[in-house]
């Protein structure tokens, strides 16, 4: 296992810039996700790390060693593909054994019949078989060793792909959306298994996904990428609580963060839909702002002059929680509040309700998306959007 350093990688295909000066450091034994929407460049970055694509500028180092001039097989990385890329004409055992065969047997020793008779071939092959069996046992696919990929289910194929990567004990595992082709239930189960595997092996994993829940549940750190740039790198909790950009705030978290149009006065007063909800220190000039409020931060109360009012449009029951969709006058989009089921049975569609939120959990974003890190004034006083008690 080793650490991975990505230093100012740039890549363009023709005139389109896919990656812009991307830098990232992955610790030894860390599970890092590259999270972003389709087309943001995360798969391209992964392929550049693997050596399957060439970079235009920048460098990659694995375990302190620069690998830019090395071919994929020399970089000591293993990759799990979204489509698994198993050799359909080989058995599961041969699929897993192939990387070892390529490395340990010479071309003569690999020949179908004659190769086995050459000196050294038998002991090398026996070693390989032992290692393949070990990996198959660890992944619980030992009974499948004689089958071909076409005879396996999606989940089983996924494990074979993992086995093929694991058997080499590489410095870094690269995974390109390996769970995307599985059904939802299997995906949740495999998430846990992959995470447990990583902890057991102490493996360094770079995991590409567009599914924020996958990234949040599995990663030690997440790197959020958009349009070829890394917006933020941090632990899931930090990304969720302190996003540095509005795009990061919207991408992470489900249901997505509520965004409200607000205005900041020179005095520091923040107004939403004409109602002043508080004031902040160190403001700068008057300008429009966006407020970001997570659904679970909003509580639903009786409507009153002192609170922000909204009309309920829709209720979604999740069992343990309820999602209340409510429209605020003057706001383009409805807000979603997540509240516990018990008090929720009094809320119905069409009702007018009041909304409250603790100011410490309200995020402020500038017009260009950057987070404005400011402190609210006088938090002891009750404010319209403030939780009572």
């Amino acid at each position: 296992m080793a650490d991975l350093t990505i230093d100012r990688i740039s890549k363009s295909f023709g005139k389109t810039r896919i990656l812009r000066d991307v830098s990232l450091a992955v610790q030894d034994g860390e599970f890092l996700s590259l999270l972003g929407p389709s087309g943001c460049g995360k798969s391209t970055l992964l392929r550049i790390i693997a050596g399957l694509e060439t970079r235009d500028a920048g460098s990659i180092a694995i375990g302190g060693r620069a690998v830019d001039a090395l071919r994929p097989k020399a970089r000591d990385v293993a990759m799990v593909f979204q489509s698994y890329a198993l050799y359909p004409h080989y058995t599961v055992e041969r699929n897993i054994a192939l990387p070892l065969q390529m490395r340990r047997l010479s071309r003569w020793q690999r020949l179908p019949l004659v190769g086995r008779l050459l000196p050294g071939s038998r002991s090398a092959r026996a070693e390989i078989t032992t290692e393949v069996l070990g990996v198959a046992r660890a992944l619980e696919i030992e009974p499948l060793l004689g089958r071909k990929p076409g005879q396996l289910s999606g989940g089983q194929r996924q494990r074979v792909a993992l086995g093929r990567a694991m058997v080499r004990r590489p410095a870094v595992f690269l995974m390109d959306e390996p769970l995307s082709n599985l059904d939802a239930k299997l995906r949740v189960q495999m998430r846990v298994e992959i995470k447990e595997l990583q902890q057991r092996l102490g493996a360094t994993i770079v995991y590409v996904t567009h599914d924020q829940s996958e990234a949040m549940t599995m990663s030690d750190r997440i790197a959020v990428m958009m349009a070829g740039e890394i917006l933020q790198v941090g632990a899931p909790h930090d990304l969720y609580m302190s996003p540095v950009d509005r795009r990061v705030a919207t991408f992470v978290g489900s249901p997505p963060i509520n965004l409200l149009q607000a205005a900041l006065a020179a005095s520091g007063d923040v107004t939403v839909s004409g109602r002043c909800i508080g004031a902040i220190h160190d403001t700068g000039p008057a300008r429009p702002l966006t407020l970001g409020i997570r659904p679970e931060v909003i509580s639903v109360t009786q409507p009153s002059i002192k609170r922000l009012t909204a009309r309920v449009r829709l209720i979604e029951h999740l069992g343990s929680d309820v999602l209340v969709h409510a429209a605020i006058d003057g706001q383009a989009h409805p807000v979603i509040a997540r509240i516990a089921s018990e008090p929720a049975h009094t809320v119905a569609a069409g009702q007018t309700i009041g909304l409250e939120a603790s100011p410490g959990r309200i995020l402020l974003f500038e017009a260009d998306g950057r987070r404005l890190d400011a402190r609210w004034r006088g938090t002891a006083q009750a404010r319209p959007l403030e939780r009572v008690s």
């Binding site: 050596g51 080989y90 990387p99 390529m102 071309r107 071909k148």
Partner: protein, 285 residues
């Protein structure tokens, strides 16, 4: 009733143009009918017995086997090589494809006339080029030793296009992910990529091309008729040509029909083999 009405016309055509003549051939093979004669007599299996000892037929049969045995592997090999080269290239693929496919598209009879000019012993381009390069020349179509080989070269030239397009389609169907996986696994030399990914994935296509090309090669007629007429001394005689000559030149149609039966058996065996092999191979993703 509707089923009969809809399938009826097609079935009638099939019956009249294929099944009936086929049955007729089997029947005529058991007679001594001469083309155009008003009477015929049943002679049982006499025609087949005569076939077994006929030196011309035996030569023709042997020639066909040797011909196919040489042309089919050469066509497949060359077709695959050209397909691999075109697929690996980055530019002008359509041009190379068209160039190699043209011989297949062209009317073989017309091309045969061109080849006759090319293979002319004195003014033909082939001999002129060979002379310039210091290679031995020969009277390609009139020499017993080279006539069949010359026809074989022409056959490869013509069928290569077919093998190539089929292999190209097969190559395109290989998922590029597999090559990426092979690269990472360590199989990144061209020969390793070929052995680990390309060749196995082309298996079913290869079998299909094999049988298709074999059928075409066994049915070679135009070149023999136009260029050598089976000569000199039956050195380039091929089955279909012998059959034609007996039936329509010598008018011994009964005897020719017996040859047709033998020919039909070979072709049917090949087609059944293809169906069997393809059927078994269908069961994988």
């Amino acid at each position: 009733m509707a089923a009969v009405a809809l399938a009826g016309p097609a079935f009638l055509l099939l019956f009249a143009l294929v099944l009936l003549p086929c049955a007729a051939v089997f029947v005529i093979a058991l007679t001594d009918w001469q083309l155009g004669a008003r009477t015929l007599h049943f002679v049982g299996l006499d025609n087949f017995v005569e076939l077994l000892s006929d030196p011309v037929f035996r030569r023709s049969f042997r020639n066909t086997l040797v011909f196919a045995g040489g042309v089919v592997p050469a066509t497949l090999g060359a077709g695959l090589l050209v397909a691999l080269l075109i697929e690996a290239g980055n530019s002008a693929r359509a041009v190379y494809r068209a160039i190699h496919f043209l011989p297949f598209m062209a009317t073989l009879a017309a091309m045969a006339v061109v080849w006759e000019a090319l293979l002319h012993p004195t003014i033909g381009l082939v001999n002129q080029a060979f002379q310039a390069l210091g290679l031995p020349t020969a009277n390609w179509l009139r020499d017993e030793d080279t006539a069949l080989a010359a026809l074989a070269v022409i056959s490869v030239w013509q069928n290569l296009g077919l093998a190539m397009v089929l292999f190209l389609a097969g190559l395109k169907a290989i998922p590029p992910d597999l090559y990426d996986a092979a690269d990472i696994d360590g199989a990144d030399e061209p020969i390793d990529r070929f052995a680990t990914v390309t060749l196995p994935m082309l298996g079913p296509v290869g079998l299909f091309v094999l049988v298709i090309v074999a059928l075409r090669v066994i049915e070679t007629f135009d070149t023999v008729r136009i260029l050598t007429e089976g000569g000199p001394a039956h050195a380039s005689e091929l089955l279909l040509h012998t059959l034609y000559v007996e039936s329509f030149d010598f008018l011994r149609t009964g005897y020719g029909a017996a040859m047709a039966v033998v020919f039909l058996v070979i072709v049917t065996a090949l087609t059944l083999l293809q169906a069997q092999l393809l059927d078994r191979r269908m069961h994988y993703q």
